[in-house]
Structure formats: C-alpha cells, structure tokens
Subunit: 133 residues, 2 copies
DNA sequence: GGCCAGCTTGACGTATGCGTCAAGCTTGGC
DNA sequence: GCCAAGCTTGACGCATACGTCAAGCTGGCC
C-alpha cells in the first residue's frame, strides 16, 4: 500500500544501468524524481518510465524520441490542438514500428540463408577432411 | 545483362542519403566499390549492401554491427572456427531481433492506450464545449 | 582551350549519450 | 565525535555518425 520508493543505486542495480545514465536522463528531461533534501527519491512510476526509456533505446530511439513517447503518456494533455498533435505523433510511431517489424522480418530471412550457407560450408569441410569418419 | 553500375550521386539520390555518408561507410569498411581512376564505381551488390546498412540503422544497429551483418553475407567464410563464430553471431542477432519484436509489440499496446486516452479527452472537450450542439 | 559539373581527399566541427574523475555534503553505526 | 558509504553537483573526455567547408583534379561540351 505505502507506495514503494527507490534510491538511485537501487534502480541502477535493478535495471542494470549506471547512476550516471539515470541522472543524465533527468538532465534531458525524461525523468523528474522527488527529492528528500538533496537525495533523489524514485517512485514506481519513475521506474516504469526508466523501463520505457530502456525499451525505446533497444529499438533504436534517441533519448529525445523516448521523451516524446513518455510525454504521450503524460496525463497533462491539455487542449484539442495538443491532443491532435499527440494523435499524430502516435500515428508516426506506429508507422515507424511497422517499418521496423518489416526490417526485422527481412533480416530474419537473410539470417536464415546466411546460416544455411554456414552450415553447408561446415558440412563440406567435414566431408573433405582426410581423417573423415 | 551488362551489370548495372552507379556513381556516388546516383546512389545518394536513389537511397536518399548524402554522399558524405556513403564515403563514411566505406571509410568504416562496410563498402569497397571499384574505381575508375579516382572515381568510385558502385555495383548492384554495393547497392544491396547500402540497403542492408540502412535497414540495420533503422532497427538501431551501429555501423560496426551493420558491418558484422554484412560480413555474415561475405562468401569469404573460411575455416571451421570462423564458421562456428558466424553461427554464434547469427544466433545473437536472432535473439536481439526477438527482443526487439517483443519491445515493438509492447510499444504498440501502449500506443493503443495512449491513443484511447487522447480520443476520450478529445470527446470530453467536445461534449463540454459551450457551443456544443 | 576554357569552363562548369561532379568527383576526389583532407580536416575540422557538431550532436548524442554517456564514462570518469573531482570535490564536497550527509547520514547511520560505533 | 568520527568514519565510511552513498549521495550530490560540476566539468572534462570520448566514441559514434556524420555535416560542412576547403582546395584541387577530371571529363565532356562549346
């Protein structure tokens, strides 16, 4: 019930990133944890945001793009214009994700043929070894 | 039949990248076009390689990783050790692609809910407009 | 021959995403 | 009170991936 909080090194260990990186994300406006005096206190929500950042990075988004994604989630959505621009950004992201899906599928296919060629080459070297069998 | 060739600006236009980028990829060892005197002459194979680079970049691979992918395609595959290491690299790539697929699917789902919230917020503002009819 | 368009090789500049000290504050345990 | 552990804010360094001149060569057309 009492909402869980984390120190910076807690999150660092748990998400396997450096504290430097976490502070950098804050510098870039992707995160804004509470403070107790000077110390940063991270909420469960902050942790989710960090996970979103890491996922974004894994699929090749820049931190600026990750920030946009985070802002899509922000309930601060105000007027109609902003909402429409958000819907536009969401559509852009979808298109980008579709393209990435296609790219990944294509790359899978190409890895298939690369793997086949490797395995055939291996089989061939085994067949022609003098001490074969 | 006579195999098609391209100038650097041909490829630049066709693939929508700068000539600087193309030369940079060559500097980094991802490409090695023929020369006619000083001029670079690109083959159809070079063009395929460039497309592979662009696809790699789209899914967030570094140029060094793209180079590895290209080398997986290189028929220079020699001894058994090299072939086995290639198979290892292919397996790594597959795992990375799987993870990216999952990340993309998850992000799609999250965009769904973000979009819903946007649309509900839009509907709400319309309902409460003074000049609502 | 002269000129322009396109090619070449440097070489320096720049944005992104942190790593890596440095120097100092703060806090719990003995 | 004191010390070590962990936190803080700078500030500089560095790899990646090009952008952006600069200066010069080159080939085809008039």
């Amino acid at each position: 019930m009492s909402s869980q909080t984390y120190s910076i090194s807690d999150l660092s260990r748990e998400l396997d990133i450096t504290t430097r990186a976490i502070r950098f994300y804050e510098e870039q406006g992707l995160l804004s944890p509470e403070r107790r005096g000077m110390e940063r206190i991270y909420s469960a929500r902050d942790k989710v945001t960090l996970k979103l950042i890491l996922r974004g990075k894994r699929i090749g988004f820049s931190l600026a793009e990750c920030r946009e994604l985070i802002e899509l989630y922000d309930p601060s959505g105000g007027n109609q214009k902003q909402l429409n621009s958000m819907l536009g950004k969401i559509a852009e992201r979808r298109a980008q994700l579709e393209q990435q899906m296609l790219d990944i599928q294509q790359m899978h296919l190409e890895l298939d043929t690369a793997q086949e060629r490797c395995e055939q080459a291996l089989a061939a070297t085994l067949d022609t070894r003098p001490d074969h069998r």
